[in-house]
C-alpha cells in the first residue's frame, strides 16, 4: 500500500478492497519505521486518525455517501490551524499553541473524508529553504539523510517522498512547496494567489502565502486541489471563483502547446545537471508536438530583493502578536511590560525569524518606507507585467525550480544570502501571484531528484496540471522511490 497514490487508496477503500483503518495503520507503521531517521513529523495524531478512519469505514459499511478523499491518510504542514493537537509553526514561541478553530483547508480536507494523521515540520514560521530553521529539529531528505529536504515545507515533502503519507499540504511564500518537492522528488503545486483560502494558515508574508498540495503524482495534486480550492468568505483575498475541476480534465488531449523558455532562468549559477534535466524535459514536450518559444522576464534580477523586502515587511507585522502577552511563550521573570515583550520575543524566536523581523521593521520605518517597501511594490508590478507579456506567447513556462539539487545539511545555514539566492527561480511567481508546479524530471549523479518547474497564467491550474500530467505519461521520474523507503516497502 505504501506504493499507492492517494487516488488509488481512495478507490481501494471505496471498492472495499481496503479499509481506511488499514490505510491509516500502514501510514503509522511507515512513520514508526522511518520517521526516527527522517523526522518529517512534529506531531502524529494516531488515535484520532484511527477513530476517524473507523468512522469512514462505518459509513461505507452502511452504504452512505462519502467524500472524494474518504479514508485517505494525509499530513498537513504545522502552520495550518487544527482544532486537535498543537499548531506550532515549528517555533518555540508557539510550542504550546492549541488552536480553537480549523483552517479552511483542514475543514475542507476532513469534509472530503481525508484523515489527517499528523502535522509536519517546517522552517520556523515558514521562513527558510531547507527546514534547518525549524525551532524543533532538522528534517532529513529521504534520498540522502545528509541532505536537506528543502523548505520551508520540508516535512511535508519528506513525508510524502518516504511514503509515510500519500499526500500532504504545504504552503508556498517564495517557493516553499516547489523547492522541497523538487529536492524530494515529488509533485508540489503552488496555486494562483487567492485560489485556496488562507484562513487558518499562520501568516508569514500575507500577500505571497498560498497553500497547495504535495503529492507523488500530478493526478493526486489535481485531486487535492479540487478539494481545497474555492472562494472562502473568511478570506477577503480569496478569489470569487468556483473551485477547480482539474482531475476531470487531466486526460483530455493537450492540443496545441507552446512552451515558453525564459532566458533569464537558464543563465549563470545554474548547475549543469539541472540545466540538462530541464532541457531534456523540454525535449519531451517537443516530442509531444509542442512549440518551444523563447520569452523574456526582464525584471527577474530584481525579484529576490523585492521579494525579501515585501515578505519581511509583512512578516514583521504579522509576527508582532507573539509577544508573551497575547500569544506564545512568555519569559518567566520580566522587569516590566516592555521587558516582558522584548525578552519573550528574544527567547522565543529563532535567529532567522528575528533577522527577518528586524529587516522588515527597518524597511517599514519612517524615512525608509519609500526607498524600500514602496520601491519593492513597484518592482512587483513590473514583474507581474513581465509574466503578462510572456504568456501572450506561450501556454506555460518551463524552468528549473532550484539552481542545484538538495544541498548538504549545514552547507548554507551560516550564509543567509546564499540561502536566499537559492530561491531565484521560484519567488517571481509569488510576486506575480501565479500558479506553478514542480514535477520530478531527473536525477543528479549523486542520485538526488531534480524538479522541473512549470508556470501558468492566472487561474490556469487546470491547464497547467494537464500539461504536467502529459510529461508524467512520457516519463517515469515520478515513480522513483528513495532507496531507503524502497528497500523496506517491498
Amino acid at each position: 500500500m505504501t506504493g499507492m497514490t492517494a487516488g488509488e487508496i481512495r478507490d481501494a477503500i471505496a471498492g472495499r478492497r481496503m479499509s481506511s483503518r488499514e490505510a491509516v495503520q500502514r501510514c503509522l507503521s511507515q512513520i514508526e519505521q522511518f520517521d526516527g531517521q527522517v523526522r518529517a513529523f512534529l506531531s502524529v495524531a494516531a488515535d484520532r486518525a484511527l477513530d476517524q478512519a473507523d468512522r469512514i469505514d462505518g459509513r461505507l459499511a452502511k452504504g452512505e455517501q462519502v467524500g472524494v478523499l474518504a479514508g485517505v491518510p494525509v499530513a498537513v504542514k504545522d502552520n495550518m490551524c487544527t482544532r486537535f493537537g498543537k499548531t506550532t509553526c515549528a517555533s518555540k514561541i508557539l510550542a504550546e499553541f492549541a488552536s480553537p478553530y480549523d483552517a479552511t483547508v483542514v475543514a475542507k480536507l476532513e469534509a472530503a473524508g481525508a484523515i489527517i494523521v499528523g502535522k509536519t515540520n517546517l522552517d520556523e514560521f515558514a521562513m527558510g529553504s531547507s527546514t534547518e530553521n525549524s525551532g524543533m529539529f532538522v528534517t532529513r531528505n529521504p534520498w540522502n539523510a545528509e541532505c536537506v529536504p528543502g523548505g520551508s515545507s520540508g516535512g511535508s515533502a519528506a513525508a510524502v517522498a518516504a511514503r509515510m503519507v500519500p499526500a500532504a499540504l504545504g504552503s508556498d511564500t517564495g517557493g516553499s512547496i516547489r523547492l522541497p518537492a523538487s529536492f524530494c522528488g515529488i509533485v508540489g503545486l503552488k496555486p494562483t494567489y487567492g485560489r485556496v483560502s488562507r484562513y487558518g494558515l499562520v501568516a508569514y508574508g500575507s500577500s505571497l502565502d498560498q497553500i497547495g498540495p504535495m503529492t507523488r503524482d500530478v493526478r493526486d495534486a489535481a485531486l487535492l486541489l479540487d478539494v481545497i480550492s474555492g472562494h472562502d468568505r473568511r478570506d477577503s483575498t480569496s478569489i470569487n471563483a468556483p473551485g477547480t475541476k482539474s482531475a476531470a480534465r487531466l486526460d483530455e488531449p493537450i492540443g496545441t502547446l507552446r512552451i515558453g523558455v525564459a532566458k533569464e532562468y537558464l543563465g549563470e549559477g545554474l548547475a549543469d545537471e539541472v540545466r540538462a534535466a530541464v532541457e531534456s524535459a523540454i525535449d519531451v514536450y517537443r516530442g509531444l508536438g509542442a512549440e518551444v518559444v523563447e520569452v523574456s522576464l526582464p525584471h527577474s534580477e530584481y525579484a529576490i530583493a523585492a521579494y525579501y523586502l515585501i515578505a519581511m515587511a509583512e512578516a514583521s507585522s504579522n509576527l508582532s502578536r507573539y509577544d508573551g502577552v497575547h500569544y506564545g511563550y512568555r519569559t518567566p521573570e520580566p522587569d516590566d511590560f516592555i521587558d516582558l515583550y522584548s525578552k519573550s520575543r528574544a527567547e522565543g524566536f529563532g535567529a532567522e525569524v528575528k533577522r527577518r523581523i528586524m529587516l522588515g521593521t527597518y524597511a517599514l520605518s519612517s524615512g525608509y518606507y519609500d526607498a524600500y517597501y514602496l520601491k519593492a511594490l513597484k518592482v512587483r508590478t513590473l514583474i507581474k507585467g513581465d509574466f503578462v507579456e510572456a504568456f501572450k506567447k506561450c501556454d506555460v513556462l518551463a524552468c528549473p525550480v532550484s539552481p542545484t539539487p538538495a544541498f548538504r545539511i549545514g552547507e548554507k545555514i551560516e550564509d543567509p544570502l546564499a540561502m536566499y539566492l537559492g530561491d531565484v527561480y521560484t519567488i517571481s511567481l509569488n510576486l506575480a501571484g501565479l500558479p506553478g508546479v514542480s514535477i520530478p524530471a531527473g536525477q543528479s549523479e549523486a542520485g538526488l531528484p531534480i524538479g522541473l518547474q512549470l508556470m501558468g497564467p492566472h487561474l490556469q491550474e487546470e491547464r497547467l496540471l494537464q500539461i504536467a500530467h502529459a510529461f508524467e505519461e512520457e516519463t517515469d521520474w515520478h515513480t522513483r522511490v528513495p532507496p531507503m523507503a524502497d528497500a523496506h516497502a517491498a
Binding site: 502552520n79 495550518m80 490551524c81 499548531t87 509553526c89 508557539l94 499553541f97 488552536s99 480553537p100 478553530y101 483552517a103 488562507r198 484562513y199 487558518g200 494558515l201 499562520v202 501568516a203 508574508g205 500575507s206 500577500s207 468568505r233 473568511r234 478570506d235 477577503s236 483575498t237 515587511a313 509583512e314 514583521s316 507585522s317 508582532s320 502578536r321 507573539y322 509577544d323 502577552v325 497575547h326 500569544y327 511590560f337 515583550y341 521593521t361 517599514l364 520605518s365 519612517s366 518606507y369 517597501y373
Partner: protein, 495 residues
Amino acid sequence: MKITPTIGMEIHVQLATRTKMFCSTPVEFAAEPNSRTCPVCIGMPGVLPVMNRKAYEYAVVVGLALNCKIAEFTKWDRKSYYYPDLPKNYQISQYDQPLSHGGYLDIPVGEGTKRIGITRAHLEEDAGKNVHDQPGYSGIDLNRAGTPLLEIVSEPDINSAEEAGIYGREVQRLVRYLGVSEADMQKGHMRFEPNVSLWVEPDGGEGYFTPIFEVKNLNSFRALERAVAWVIDYHQAELNRHMAEGKPYTLEAVGKQNWGWRDEAGRGEFQRGKEEAHDYRYFPDPDLVPVVMNEEWLSELKKRVPELPIQKRARFIEQYGVNLADVERIIADRETADLFEAAVGVGCDVRTLVTHFIGLWSRHANDRGCTIAQLEVPAKRMAELARLQHEGHLSATATTDVVSAAFTLDSSRTYAEVATEIGKLQVRDAGQTEQWVEQAMAANEKAVRDAMGNPKKRKAAAGFLRGQVMKLSRGQADPKLVGELIEKRLGELAG
C-alpha cells in the same frame, strides 16, 4: 499683542453596527469580560479580517453629512504599536487614503452659525481595555477590540473651549440624526482629542503658534471644555513666563506634545514630547482588499442622508415661528423633531404645541431620562392636548394633571375622556357656573359687602370670590367666565 486660541479636534465615534468591524462577533456594552470575542477580533494566529460593509456605509453617510468628498478608492493600513490592549499589536486603520476628506460642519454659535472645516473622516478598529482592578497584575478585556470607530478630524477652526463643546455636541447630534451611532458618552461611544495651541500676533511682529498640546481620550463634554480651557490658560501662562525670560514659546521650538487630563484634579498631565513620538510603520494591510466606491452605491448612500440638525433648526424657526431659545429642545433629536412635525400635521395650535414641547413634554422626558419621542405619546394625542388647551377646554394646570393621569390610566382613552374622568375639563355651561357663583356669594357675605361698599377692596374681594368659585367647581369652571358672572351679579346687587 493679539492672542487667538486655535483648536483642531479629533473625535472618535463608535458606530452602532450589530457586529464588529472585521468579524461577525456582536458588539455589546458591559458584557462579561472577553465573552464577546472570536478568534478574529482577538488576533489568533492564522485569522483574517473581513470588512463589515455596514460600518463602511455608516462611515460614508457621515462623510456625506459632513460635506466631505467620498473617495472612489480606499485601502486599509496597519498602524503598529505594542500595547497589551491591542491583540495583534497593530491596529487596522486608514492612513493616506481615508474614505472621506475635505468637508465642513456648520455649528450654532450665538445667533448665527460658524463653519468648522473637516480634514478627514476614516474608519478603524477599536482596541480592548486594560483593567487594573486586581493587585499585582492587570487584566485585559477584549470585548471592545475590533469595534468600528469613525475618526473625524477637524481643521483648527475652533477658537474657544465653548466652541469646542458646541462642536462636540453638534457632532453627537449629527451622528444620532444619521442613525449611525448612539453616541452615548456614558458608554464611551464618543472620545475627544483636542489639539490646542495659541496663535500669537505680537504688535508689529510676525505671528506664530505656541506648541500644540494634544489632550488624549476625553470622554465627556465637561472634560472636553475644562481641558481645553485649562490648556489655553496654561499656554498663556507659559507664554508670559517665556517672554519675561526672553525665550521663545513656539511650535517650532517645543513641538507637539501629548497630554492627559486628570478630571478630578482639574488639570492636564504631560505624557510625551515630540522626541518620543511613535513610528507607527504604516503599510497597506495585505489581508484586506481596497474598497471601490461606484456611482450606484454612492447615490444609494446619498439617499440615506436626512435633513441635518442645522438645517432643521433654521427651517423650524422660519416655518413654525419657533424662537431660537426654544428650537433646541424640539430638534434635540431627529425622532422628537419628526414627532413635532407630525403633531403639527394632525392639526393644532403650533404655539401651544411649542409650549408643551419645551415645558410639559420636556419635563416628562427629563423625569424618565429619555427623549420626548421616547415617551411614546403619539402625535395625534399631542395635537389633541394642544387643541384642548388652545380652545379653552383645559387650563394650563389641568393640562399637566391630565397628562400625568393619562400616563397611569388606560392610554386608549382620549385626553378629553381622561380630563372628564378626573374632572378637569373646563365647564363652560353658564347655568352651572351661575349656580356656583350664587353659592360662593351666599357663603361669603363679608367679601360681597367689601366688594360692593369699599372701592379700595373691590378688586381683592372679587378675586377672592373667583377663587372660591374655582374651588367649588374643583377647578372645572372657566376662570374667565366666572369673572364675568361675578361682575354681572355684583352689578345686579348694586342695581
